[in-house]
Subunit: 159 residues, 2 copies
DNA sequence: GGTACATCGTTAGTCGCACTAACGCAACGG
DNA sequence: CCGTTGCGTTAGTGCGACTAACGATGTACC
């Protein structure tokens, strides 16, 4: 092994140091993001999943828990607790579906709707905090890349 | 509010649907990334933390566990197990520091070094899998944005 | 020289999230 | 009818992030 030359050419050989490994950066940034969002939501006595569930209900109207689970990615096991919490706060109602008695239909209440609107503002602020160092154009490109990565990997996992 | 024109000005009003919320995308993509990397490393009987620790040791030479913890971000509580595993496989050695008897000095063995080189290749492949849908230029921009976000938020947290 | 304080490695344990297993019930398809 | 599938629920596992506390050691200050 020849020692001396600090040739720029050998960069291909050098493995990425930890600080630039995409998977690692992703994990670290995601954990910061998670903290920012969770702590922010906590100030409104809410959790990420509350928000996810409420948004899904606003977008698509009342639906069964199973459907809600698919849309939000929350496991149906864990969804039980989320619905419990939301209904305890009066934001959703859970009622058996007369058409298919296996199902519970989850419906957002008007209190839920206005709560969600408060959360919307909060979440928007938090996204802003998260992406603070990026320009608007960079934020968009960044988000689009994330979307493409997600689409790619959720597809290839279903395959 | 003047309605007609699709003025870029009103983007503020519409709350982001879940599928484009940066914090959510980040969490989902990070979890995919984590699975890809963890499963990949498992085929080489390794874990993320093994890799992180070994890379740090290669970059900076032997160091105490506390130092290693700071560099890798692994909590010193959890680092104990990592060092146990690595030393059980013969990749590092743990010896008391004669200069400061509170410390253990962790040193990478030659077996560790060659194991790390195998892992380097594996990791490079996995990053490639992860970033598959992005072009080289996009990957770089993406990674750079992640780096900036991380730097920003780790700073503001120390503040 | 003591004493208060900080650092190190370690053990144990908490918390939240992703995920599995199994159950009883209801619906559907042959 | 009966087997299969979908549903809501409970319980529990595994793991990563993180805290608390400990004994042993080192450092700083008076």
């Amino acid at each position: 092994m020849i020692a001396a030359m600090t040739d720029p050419m050998d960069r291909q050989e050098t493995p990425a140091p930890l600080r630039t490994l995409p998977s690692r950066l992703l994990a670290l940034v995601a954990s910061h993001a998670d903290r920012i969002v969770s702590e922010g939501l906590a100030t409104a006595d809410a959790r990420k999943w509350h928000y996810a569930a409420l948004v899904a209900l606003r977008e698509s109207g009342p639906m069964s828990q199973a459907e809600l689970s698919r849309r939000t990615g929350i496991y149906r096991s864990d969804l039980v607790a989320v619905i419990n919490e939301l209904s305890a706060r009066g934001f959703v109602e859970r009622a058996p579906d007369p058409g298919d008695r296996r199902r519970n239909v989850v419906t957002m209440t008007t209190a839920g709707r206005s709560h969600l609107e408060r959360l919307d503002k909060l979440i928007a602020d938090l996204q802003d905090t998260l992406l603070a160092p990026l320009t608007d154009a960079e934020r968009e490109e960044f988000t689009r890349s994330l979307g493409r990565l997600l689409a790619h990997h959720t597809r290839s996992e279903l395959r």
